[in-house]
């Protein structure tokens, strides 16, 4: 609290980002009403006309006037895009043509009824998704919404009016939107309703029953007003935050709601969202996976709850723990949660109530500094709760039959054995059968087997026989014990099996993830990554998969049909899952999942499921893990590419720098000599003139040699050195080179030893001459005058070696490995070298398939040896 005015940096950043996205994104303005008929569309159209008067480009994407004349009149003169007819089950439905609006790209689009559900076959199932895409494209949108269609308010409205609300819009859509409340007093609205201005006759009756009652309208109006007020509050808070105005709000809240497959969970999620909204804080939805297996129905419900939470703006966190409380608190602590929201224990039986209560008490005790909210599930939902015992699922029937069959068989065996053994042994045999069944079957069938066998034992084997009556106390106790043991065994074993199954699934998941990680770690090229990722996804999910990566242009590279490509492209551009089993284009036959790392979409994974049901939670979790990992690997590869490029660039920069520093000196020195000698030339006695001319000649020779070297080096660097290999005579090479260098080698006695009858050697005479010239000049430059230089050629072991040896100081140990590097100059080298001569020798010789080596000679001096393969000279 030393700097009370300093805004929380994260919040500030989020606010700035929001401002930025809003600048590029279109702005959404929602005309919010408490019910139909308050005049939202009218108000919206009026506002749109005003915008047009202000010279903005306004287009009507979709407006439903319900035949109201005043409203109709307002659309006149506003451009509208034609609707797109969609034929669904023989009925033609007209929907907004999203692509047409996108193509027309106005500044402002008017799109009525945000909560509308699109006809199947449209790109998005819901109109608000169309609107989001328009906003994404930078188009401002005016739209209308009734308060009951807002996700977080739908429950409340349902409770008040009793009407079921099917079409809802997630609250997150309204995030950052401007809200204009279109308000009308309930009396006026009812008056309009009665005048038939709101609904046509047949719908009016239904509406009247649910909504258009004075009490309901007042409540709805209150909800709408409160919502609008809350929005204003939030805007103000954000405004204050960005401008460092100290305010009364509490920052740092973070809510967590416990999600379960229970039907109540949905309400708790909505409730938490409302709470988070009013606190202006973030919230997470936590799910603790236990070893108890979920039924398919529960699985579906859980998936729905988690995606609902995501849709409402929660971060979803899951963990695996058999102790739900421990799991919840673990998530809460790692996520810095300040308040946990759980449902009030509910249940028709006292047992479940007691269990829930105990859990709650434990949560409160263990939560420490975290506050615990206990929400109340709505009673209306209570009826939807499934009965305590519901009939076995279709797939379980064979198990019950097996159980009954086994019990019957064991009973027969026991009947045969009964004359010889005691009734207690019979009981143990039954018990054994129950245990055996528990290993194979589910909980229900085991209970049935336990009960059935207990009753049969009692009826057939415990005296008095053929009655359910037990005479002796001992038998009664034994029967009771049998019953308890059989049930407990059955329960325990099935639980262990469930846990095993869970463990196995978890292990399978871990193994799949591990294998993917392992295989991808080895992949070093884009193609390998593609192949590995695709084969792993196909193997694990038993689906067809392909990986689509973008070209430099941002277009995905693929062999898909145009239609599929456009879906993939959409997923890529919007970074959202698209296609089958998603909200966008669910009619597609494959799922398109963006591969994201922070802020970057690196590609799209196309998964064509073979199963007809949506992926299970298990599959989703694993797939998400896969996506994340593949994206990371793609990112790594991208970085590696970038790094390679950067290194090459740095290398070439280093080369350029060395070139400049070396060359500027080397170019200027002879130029300076020429310029000064020439300027001194006139008016001098002839002998001085001659001396100056000699200087000029030497300087220009040096300059010429430098330029030659530079050109040679550049050719080598750019890969333009293509040797013209020809069968050549070594004598020719030696002679030409020495003749050309006569003057340069004048200060050194040169001895040549070329054995007679050397075969012709395949070489590029010009390149070899240059290489040898450089070696000889190097020898001349680095050795004292009058020290001998030797040129030797020998043929041995299929190779021709040409050696240029001197008797100079030789090369120091540290210089030896570097002499063939560009711009390397051995310490103590005389002035006037560029460090290019020897690298050129190396480049030229290697271009001809040879190699060059350097060594110090015994007795002093250095020896450079060029080696060329001898080959098989043709006969003449």
């Amino acid at each position: 609290m030393t700097e009370p005015n300093r805004p929380d940096p994260d919040t500030l950043l989020a606010a700035i980002q929001k401002e930025q996205t809003q600048r590029s994104r279109g702005k959404l303005k929602v005309f919010l009403g408490m019910a139909a008929g308050v005049g939202k569309t009218y108000a919206m159209l009026e506002a749109a006309r005003q915008q047009r008067t202000d010279r903005r480009d306004v287009v009507i994407g979709y407006v439903e006037t319900h035949g109201r004349k005043e409203t109709d009149a307002l659309t006149v003169g506003l451009e509208s895009t034609p609707r797109r007819p969609i034929v669904y089950r023989g009925v033609t439905l007209a929907e907004m043509d999203l692509d047409a609006v996108l193509a027309r790209h106005p500044q402002l689009a008017v799109v009525d009824e945000l909560a509308h559900t699109n006809a199947p076959g449209s790109r998005h199932p819901k109109r608000y998704q169309d609107v989001l895409e328009l906003l994404e494209a930078g188009i401002d949108v005016y739209t209308t919404l009734n308060v009951q269609h807002l996700e977080s308010r739908a429950d409340t409205v349902q409770e008040i009016t009793g009407a079921t609300i099917h079409e809802t819009v997630p609250d997150s859509v309204l995030e950052g939107a401007e809200i204009e409340l279109v308000d009308l007093s309930p009396e006026d609205l009812l008056k309009r309703f009665d005048e038939g201005k709101v609904y046509v006759a047949e719908r009016a009756e239904v509406a009247r029953r649910h909504f258009f009652q004075p009490g309901h309208l007042t409540a709805l109006r209150e909800i709408a007003l409160r919502l609008a007020a809350e929005r204003v509050g939030q805007d103000v808070r954000e405004y204050m935050q960005t401008r460092q105005i100290a305010g009364p709000w509490k920052t740092g809240h973070r809510l967590q709601v416990a999600v379960s497959p229970s039907p109540f969970s949905e309400q708790m999620i909505r409730w938490t969202r409302r709470l988070a909204d009013s606190l202006g804080c973030s919230w997470i939805a936590a799910y603790v996976e236990t070893s108890i297996a979920l039924s398919e129905e529960e699985q579906t419900r859980l998936t729905r709850h988690l995606s609902l939470a995501k849709e409402l703006g929660a971060e979803v966190r899951t963990t695996a723990d058999d102790d739900v409380i421990r799991g919840l608190l673990h998530i809460a602590r790692t996520q810095n949660v300040t308040q946990i929201v759980v449902g009030k224990p509910a249940g028709s039986s006292w047992l479940s109530f007691l269990r829930g209560g105990l859990r709650l008490a434990r949560l409160v005790r263990a939560s420490g500094h975290i506050d615990v909210h206990v929400g109340r599930p709505e009673q209306a939902q209570e009826q939807k709760r499934p009965p305590l015992w519901h009939g076995p699922a279709e797939s379980e029937w064979p198990q019950y039959l097996t159980a009954a069959g086994v019990v019957a068989a064991v009973t027969l065996v026991n009947l045969l054995l009964s004359p010889y053994v005691h009734s207690r042994t019979i009981g143990l045999i039954f018990l054994m059968a129950v245990v055996a069944l528990a290993i194979r079957l589910g909980r229900g069938p085991v209970y049935v087997a336990a009960t059935l066998s207990a009753l049969l034992w009692n009826f057939l084997f415990l005296p008095p026989l053929y009655t359910f009556y037990i005479s002796s106390l001992e038998n009664a106790v034994m029967f009771a014990m049998y019953f308890v043991v059989a049930l407990a065994m059955g329960h325990l074993i099935s639980q262990i099996r469930a846990r095993e199954r869970m463990d196995r699934r978890r292990e399978e998941r871990a193994t799949a993830m591990y294998l993917l990680t392992l295989k991808l770690a080895d992949a070093s090229t884009w193609e390998e990554i593609d192949r590995t990722a695709v084969s792993n996804v196909e193997r694990v999910f038993k689906a067809e998969a392909s990986l689509l990566r973008p070209e430099v242009s941002g277009q995905l590279r693929t062999t898909l049909s145009e239609k599929d490509l456009s879906i993939a492209q959409w997923a890529f551009q919007h970074a959202q899952p698209t296609g089958r089993f998603t909200d966008t284009l669910p009619m597609a036959d494959a799922m398109y999942l963006p591969l994201r790392t922070d802020g970057n979409v690196l590609g799209v994974l196309r998964v064509k499921w073979k199963q007809s049901s949506p992926p299970t939670l298990d599959q989703q979790t694993l797939l998400e893990g896969f996506l994340r990992h593949i994206a990371l690997v793609l990112d790594r590869q991208r970085l590696r590419d970038t790094e390679t490029q950067a290194r090459l660039l740095a290398e070439s920069e280093r080369f350029t720098n060395a070139l400049l520093s070396s060359i500027s000196h080397e170019l200027r020195t002879p130029l300076a000599a020429i310029a000064s000698a020439v300027s001194a030339l006139s008016g001098q006695p002839p002998d001085v003139q001659q001396a100056l001319i000699d200087e000029v000649r030497q300087a220009s020779n040096r300059l010429n040699r430098l330029v030659d070297n530079l050109l040679d080096m550049t050719r080598l660097e750019s890969g333009h050195t293509k040797p013209h290999l020809d069968w050549c005579d070594i004598n020719d090479l030696v002679h030409i080179t020495l003749k050309r260098l006569e003057k340069d080698l004048a200060g050194h006695p040169v001895s040549v030893s070329v054995p007679p009858n050397l075969p012709l050697v395949r070489m590029d005479l010009v390149l070899m001459e240059q290489a040898m010239t450089n070696l000889l000049l190097n020898a001349a430059a680095h050795t004292p005058p009058q020290t001998p230089v030797q040129v030797m050629a020998t043929a041995q072991e299929g190779e021709l070696a040409i050696t240029v040896a001197d008797r100079g100081p030789g090369l120091s140990a540290e210089a030896l490995p570097h002499v063939f590097e560009k711009f390397y100059r051995a310490p103590g080298s005389p002035a006037g070298g560029t460090g290019l001569g020897l690298p050129i020798v190396k480049g030229f010789v290697e271009a001809q398939g040879g190699r060059v080596q350097v060594a110090n000679r015994a007795g002093g001096g250095a020896a450079f040896t060029m080696t060329l393969p001898l080959g098989d000279p043709p006969t003449v």
């Binding site: 069968w727 004598n731 002679h735 030409i736 012709l760």
Partner: protein
């Protein structure tokens, strides 16, 4: 060749660089030439047609036409000796120019003495070679009519191929003959590219004709291009 001392041979310089043209004018005029200049290929061809120069100095990098193109057009109607003066030093460029009819190829930068020597040689074999029945250079004498070759008065026996190679070089004495040219003329068109024939036969000729075969003075290798028979007075 000159009947009167007043006659000055005319040299046409075709080069787009003013400085090179100026330099050549100074040196050539100082050495008894009259100099004409052209800054591009088209102008050069016109000058060559109207003024009939005795020798042409041609740059390969011209702004309008490629030097080799100029050379080919010129050769359509003229046998004037042409010396190519170029900064291009790759064997391909040299070979292309020589095969297109250039008499010699001098790489920039060049020494004036060298250039003047090449000019003299080029002008000389503008004369019909067949007239020279007995050719002499240094210690060697070649009698083209009787096919006799002597070194220091001693007759040297040559095989038929060796002789036809030598005769070709003699007839173009001083001029660089490309590998392709030599192979085609001596061995026939099928042998173009088989340079090892040349290497072997040239080594044999040197063995028989040169005083120090490993340091030839007469039969000179032009690396990457071909051979030249040097005329020593």
């Amino acid at each position: 060749m000159s009947d009167t001392t007043a006659y000055k041979p005319v040299a046409l310089v075709i080069d787009d660089e003013v400085q090179i043209r100026r330099l050549l004018r100074i040196t050539l005029e100082a050495n008894g030439y009259r100099v004409l200049e052209a800054a591009n290929g088209q102008g050069g061809l016109t000058q060559a047609a109207t003024c009939r120069p005795d020798v042409v100095l041609l740059d390969l990098g011209l702004p309008d036409l490629d030097g080799v193109t100029v050379l080919k057009r010129l050769r359509e109607w003229s046998h004037v000796p042409v010396i190519v003066l170029s900064v291009r030093d790759r064997d391909e460029d040299k070979t292309a120019a020589l095969d297109s009819g250039a008499d010699d190829y001098v790489t920039k930068p060049f020494s004036t003495a060298e250039l003047l020597a090449r000019l003299r040689v080029a002008q000389r074999h503008a004369q019909p070679v067949a007239d020279t029945v007995v050719f002499r250079t240094g210690d060697m004498e070649v009698d083209l009519s009787s096919r006799r070759v002597t070194v220091k008065g001693q007759e040297v026996r040559l095989t038929a191929t060796e002789y036809s190679l030598l005769r070709l070089l003699v007839r173009h004495a001083g001029k660089v003959l490309t590998h392709q040219h030599l192979l085609r003329e001596v061995w026939g068109p099928d042998y173009v590219g088989q340079t090892h024939y040349l290497r072997v036969y040239m080594a044999r000729l040197r063995e028989k004709l040169e005083a120090a075969p490993s340091q030839p003075e007469v039969l000179i290798t032009e690396p990457g291009v071909g051979y030249r028979l040097v005329v020593k007075d």
